[in-house]
Symmetry: D4
Subunit: 240 residues, 8 copies
Amino acid sequence: MLKQVKGGKLSVEDAVDRLRNLPYEDIGFARIDHHRPLRQGFPEVIFARGKAPEHVEGIVRGMLRNRHNILITRGNEELYERIKTLDKRAQFHALSGAISICRDRKIRGKGKILVVSAGTSDIPVAEEAQVTAEVMGNRVDSIYDVGVANIHRILSESQQLRSARIIIVVAGMEGALPSVVGGMVSVPVIAVPTSIGYGASFHGLAALLGMLNSCASNIATVNIDNGFGAGYLASVINRL
Amino acid sequence: MLKQVKGGKLSVEDAVDRLRNLPYEDIGFARIDHHRPLRQGFPEVIFARGKAPEHVEGIVRGMLRNRHNILITRGNEELYERIKTLDKRAQFHALSGAISICRDRKIRGKGKILVVSAGTSDIPVAEEAQVTAEVMGNRVDSIYDVGVANIHRILSESQQLRSARIIIVVAGMEGALPSVVGGMVSVPVIAVPTSIGYGASFHGLAALLGMLNSCASNIATVNIDNGFGAGYLASVINRL
Amino acid sequence: MLKQVKGGKLSVEDAVDRLRNLPYEDIGFARIDHHRPLRQGFPEVIFARGKAPEHVEGIVRGMLRNRHNILITRGNEELYERIKTLDKRAQFHALSGAISICRDRKIRGKGKILVVSAGTSDIPVAEEAQVTAEVMGNRVDSIYDVGVANIHRILSESQQLRSARIIIVVAGMEGALPSVVGGMVSVPVIAVPTSIGYGASFHGLAALLGMLNSCASNIATVNIDNGFGAGYLASVINRL
Amino acid sequence: MLKQVKGGKLSVEDAVDRLRNLPYEDIGFARIDHHRPLRQGFPEVIFARGKAPEHVEGIVRGMLRNRHNILITRGNEELYERIKTLDKRAQFHALSGAISICRDRKIRGKGKILVVSAGTSDIPVAEEAQVTAEVMGNRVDSIYDVGVANIHRILSESQQLRSARIIIVVAGMEGALPSVVGGMVSVPVIAVPTSIGYGASFHGLAALLGMLNSCASNIATVNIDNGFGAGYLASVINRL
Amino acid sequence: MLKQVKGGKLSVEDAVDRLRNLPYEDIGFARIDHHRPLRQGFPEVIFARGKAPEHVEGIVRGMLRNRHNILITRGNEELYERIKTLDKRAQFHALSGAISICRDRKIRGKGKILVVSAGTSDIPVAEEAQVTAEVMGNRVDSIYDVGVANIHRILSESQQLRSARIIIVVAGMEGALPSVVGGMVSVPVIAVPTSIGYGASFHGLAALLGMLNSCASNIATVNIDNGFGAGYLASVINRL
Amino acid sequence: MLKQVKGGKLSVEDAVDRLRNLPYEDIGFARIDHHRPLRQGFPEVIFARGKAPEHVEGIVRGMLRNRHNILITRGNEELYERIKTLDKRAQFHALSGAISICRDRKIRGKGKILVVSAGTSDIPVAEEAQVTAEVMGNRVDSIYDVGVANIHRILSESQQLRSARIIIVVAGMEGALPSVVGGMVSVPVIAVPTSIGYGASFHGLAALLGMLNSCASNIATVNIDNGFGAGYLASVINRL
Amino acid sequence: MLKQVKGGKLSVEDAVDRLRNLPYEDIGFARIDHHRPLRQGFPEVIFARGKAPEHVEGIVRGMLRNRHNILITRGNEELYERIKTLDKRAQFHALSGAISICRDRKIRGKGKILVVSAGTSDIPVAEEAQVTAEVMGNRVDSIYDVGVANIHRILSESQQLRSARIIIVVAGMEGALPSVVGGMVSVPVIAVPTSIGYGASFHGLAALLGMLNSCASNIATVNIDNGFGAGYLASVINRL
Amino acid sequence: MLKQVKGGKLSVEDAVDRLRNLPYEDIGFARIDHHRPLRQGFPEVIFARGKAPEHVEGIVRGMLRNRHNILITRGNEELYERIKTLDKRAQFHALSGAISICRDRKIRGKGKILVVSAGTSDIPVAEEAQVTAEVMGNRVDSIYDVGVANIHRILSESQQLRSARIIIVVAGMEGALPSVVGGMVSVPVIAVPTSIGYGASFHGLAALLGMLNSCASNIATVNIDNGFGAGYLASVINRL
């Protein structure tokens, strides 16, 4: 169109008019293309729950054409068997059901991300956070089973805590651990409530409310059981 | 009636029949009288909120005829001025609005009750618990402002905590302090959620759910802002 | 380190510095060791739900090296068969799914713990409370099926109620029994709401709210279906 | 129209057509007129809250043209002063704010309606129920302050309870009284939860859920604080 | 004991003392025996859900020794096969899963109970109400599928509605039918919300709240899906 | 009856009397017949979930006698196999489980209905809306997978959006898409929350609340997952 | 920029690049200008609650420069006095607090919008809907006080209902009226729940859930008390 | 103590023993002192709501002895007048009620923090976030009134968005803006729900749930109206 303007085939007024109506997608996609390099190291992600295995397989096959890492969350062993035939680098993380295909192992995060979980039952969610952060190019450590009812367990890890640039704290039941961790460090803490508990835990509501009302100020919260979101956000912060 | 039986004026069968239908209140009140001595040191309690000052004054006047301690909860200074004219021993506890008249200062509790509060805003509820326990004949100590976001504050009080026979923990917001205290001691912990907080605290619901889901096992919970109930139950336990 | 200070190999300043950074776990674990004897008779507990049977078996095998009693909650017959091969003293409590291994039968509780349940459907939770209290060295009695809709059932048990040092009251549906029991005795009452009910019971919420709002003052509440917690707390109180 | 048909001015077909489209209100109002005599003794009722005093006054002035009793709920003293000038028989019930004008004092209910309240704070709602039942031509008795935490109070009233044809039970907090009363009698029980309580009473939700989940089967529930509805329904039953 | 008093073996004072402590159960059970005849025609009821079939069978076997009707709610065909072998009069009501054994067919209710349901999916709950009322000795009619979205269906049944002494209205989704029926009649209406619906029905909560907030005043509500309770209460009212 | 009046066999007064009591159903059904033509093109609809396949088959067989389109929602492949044998035009929509039998393909809607869905998981609900609108005689287009987290996707469809007369927007999770679409167009937007999500989505509550609180004013909301309702209402609007 | 391209001062490539990064607001505002004519008759709207009167006055002053109608919602008399000084055409709608300035009285809606309210307390919300629809150029009628507890009131208005092109139904308490109206007409119904009610109405939640679960299919719902939204959406539909 | 060891006055064993029991506060406070420098630029913060003005004044007087910045949240003009007399640098931020005393104006944040708000009513919360971030040494920009119902407003700010290192998004009602912003940038987004809205916003619950369920992955959420927390966390991230 601009060539037409230059060649005089299109008046400036008409061009303005057409630009005004230019479909947004063009500009949009252009902008996305333009921004891609900034997004290097961001994985392609598939939420597998509720998707047919052959459907997931098809998506992965398409994704393998580019060079991003691939992360499948909430999968299972059966799905893993399928994916492994597509790419031998596929790894299965049994507790969380995550399947990762790491093709780009460059470390992009500037510091260490630490994943802390309160109870052993919270580990599947913690593992999802950990795998996500690894797939996105971070050094990740984890401390499991340091719930507040034995406060010495988390206190004894204070050096580990202080060595991290971002901390993800995963907890169910009363969800109190993020407040304690938040008070022990000066770095950002991402709190992940889990649905672990029974009765008045109301499927994670108790932990969620606890974290939102934390008296520590360096804390923000993601959805119940959203280990992926925590790992993703931590990775975004760690690239700053 | 029994005299009639003895005197032959009433057959045994008729007496059985009448006893069967004997109004429960007679037996009931008798039993209460009989049990009173066991209840020595239990105060007379008035929940003042929503009652007219002259109404409360009237009740207190009646209570002064016996020798129990008297506790008025959720009162205010104006009410206190009235009550003071009835008995000079009346004391006003300004933060909680409690008014106490201690006429029986005998210590009946076997150990010390410790009242711990997470934030300064939780102190009114903590004070209500403390006054209640004192009026019921206990030695009471308190530690205020030791919330979990600075975990060292509560840890530094571990000796105090270990010196108590029963601990009342008062906390709003995320309500995490009882879990931490529960893990630090071997004695019973009574958790009191408060309505302190805003937004997703939902008037104390967050703290309440947190305490009910505590991963420490030596904890039970009372209603939101129920400092009186906690002080009362602690006193009952402390007499065991 | 202290020897180095004594020997002059370490300056006082450096020692202060190192102590300041001394990992908490050391102090922590020391303190736990020191406190152990106070905790004699506390069982090792495993929450079996959601754990693989072989996993539970492994944990039990480890626990059997010391001499504590062992309690597995929310297990099943299959798990029991495995555990029985490890220790013949293992007992299965079929209603609650609890498995206990009592190796230390010393009575540590000073009085009797009484477990009261409102309906026959509440018995599994009541049984969990009872087994827990027994494993922790208490004499325990139980009264089942004395719900408030036939008030004479609980009234006829008033002697039993008065013989107890602590009472655990288990109730679903409207959860009214603890209020009635609380008014009949002067000892502490631990209220356990159950998820028994349908419709507007909302999985135990109705019973939970009822208990938290009890007009009796000697009551505290634990989480829905938390028989274990009630039995544990009652044991803690019963040792006072 | 029927006359037109008879006179031949309207064909049967056209009449059918017009009847088919006959506005419902005509039939409706006819039916209402027809039913009126059956409804003798039903009061005219005004819910005063949120209505301007002069507005209520105007409505009452209109109502005074017929001979029904008049009931104003949720009024206040100021409104009462206005209404008294319209009819000297107006009575003010200060606790509930009800204002009644009884012009038809015929007893239409076949038995006695008994209003029972758990606590003194529940009396305003109980009074609204009582006044409503009286205005609708019933003999009404009341028993106040017989909450379940002192079970002997209600047991001692068993004769009173058995003398009633319908029982209204008003209770806040845990709302347990209807279950106990329901089990003591064979007559219908109407349960009224009140918003009395604090914290986890959630403005009457706890009492409401308790009553809906009652293990007694002769109970139905009305809205929180709805003394009027309970009194009205009891009157309807009492005329059967 | 009374004989001892008569015989002079027990002083009046001592007898009073012993009576004061007479276990409540004796009086209680006596009173129940005494009242039994008043309760003629009340069925023995078993809530089958969650009970083992052999357990239910055992209870029924015991009940068959007396002459009451027997009602089993929430059963199934398999259970019915067992029960039929115990008593040939057993009937299976397939939609609700109720099993009834009618041995006493005397009509005790004074009028007709009408069960109205809004949708075809609500019929199981309606059937439970109907069977309960029949087993308790009432004439019962039913009208199904007259929900408010086609208002003419219920209007066309106005004669049926007016012929009933008590009406039970069963409705899920928005639960609006009781308000409409309540306005059409002068008799008591028992509203039964059902869990029929999806999404924002929240398992019957929408219908429950709708019924509790009904603008018709002759309505009371029972628990979600509680057809039994509605049938029971209607029977109690119908005997008045 | 009117003939009797005409013939003098029935007085006008008696006829009025009988008309007054004429069962509503007659008038009602008449009115429905009368209105039918206005309703041309409205399908017969069966909600299949919870209905036995043979039951649905029976209903369909009855419906096939008239000429309306037939729509079965929430069916499955097995049901489809049955229905296909009744009418070969039956079509199965596998994602939503809808089965349609289109016998009247006349376009009655004046414009195009556009169905927009936020995520691929929302497509089943979107498909239900689309099939409903098609069966009711509308031209329907759809745009899938244009959620707000990549705002350019929906912006690039602005021409499509502007070509529609009514837009249905289907979204789970945060339910934000209707607000964005509502702001981009001047036509009515029907928002359908879905139960897609986990944790704090609370089965669609988050999306529902989001849509109800939309800051765009041309939006109304239907129940969670109610694709059928949205398609139906859109069709009703599209005939205006 | 296009002139630069034409004049050769800017290469086509550079222009494409700049266009790609052209701030959206320019395109955006252009598009809004371009679309304005389509939006003729849409009023400028101010939500007054929580805004300072002088602030609202300032906004109105600015709006008066163009020729749109102006609508202020949730205002009060004091604000009206200010606005009247700016434009004498300002009208105050006292029940809803709406203030309208109608400068463009052209009727743009094709049919009549009918606003129906269940109770007299719902009229403020109904009035807001009515004023909104009038300000947006519609003929509007209203029917008030036709709640379902007297079903004949709404039935008697069936002709009025059938004369409308869109119906807005406003109801609090159980919110049942939209279902009834929806079943009586073939046009779209916009349901507006109100916060009228008490107790278990939970500030309009009961009515909201009722409407969302309506068994009539031609209904969609807006936020609680959102008369404005209903009037706006009805106007948008009425222009189709 | 270490000096005693060195001087031989204390055996190593005794020292170990004393260290084991060394009150935690000493270590704790030491650690805090030691960490202080790391915390340079962290303000002293007072939550003023519910505190007496003279109390706040006293705290500020104490704080002025050190050199940190001081931030008072949720204050008012009256409080500001008091504080201004203590330090002339005090500034009042009228919309949020924040009062700041900036004594240390060093910029410590590495990039720009951008505060975005959806509606003008959200500005008080946004201002609290902005002031907090400024007091903590950050460059802060803000964009107000860019809600999603006019999507072009936020799109036109894409350059601003891309210039920020961390973005705080403040929104009430449906809370959709964070999802849109999250999708437009690669930096962390902190979402702040506000209590702005009415009806089904349930005091911010709708916005909170919307944000927790965001389909954008670079988002975490803080409590409703918690502008301070968002500003604090953003500052913590910005120092990384």
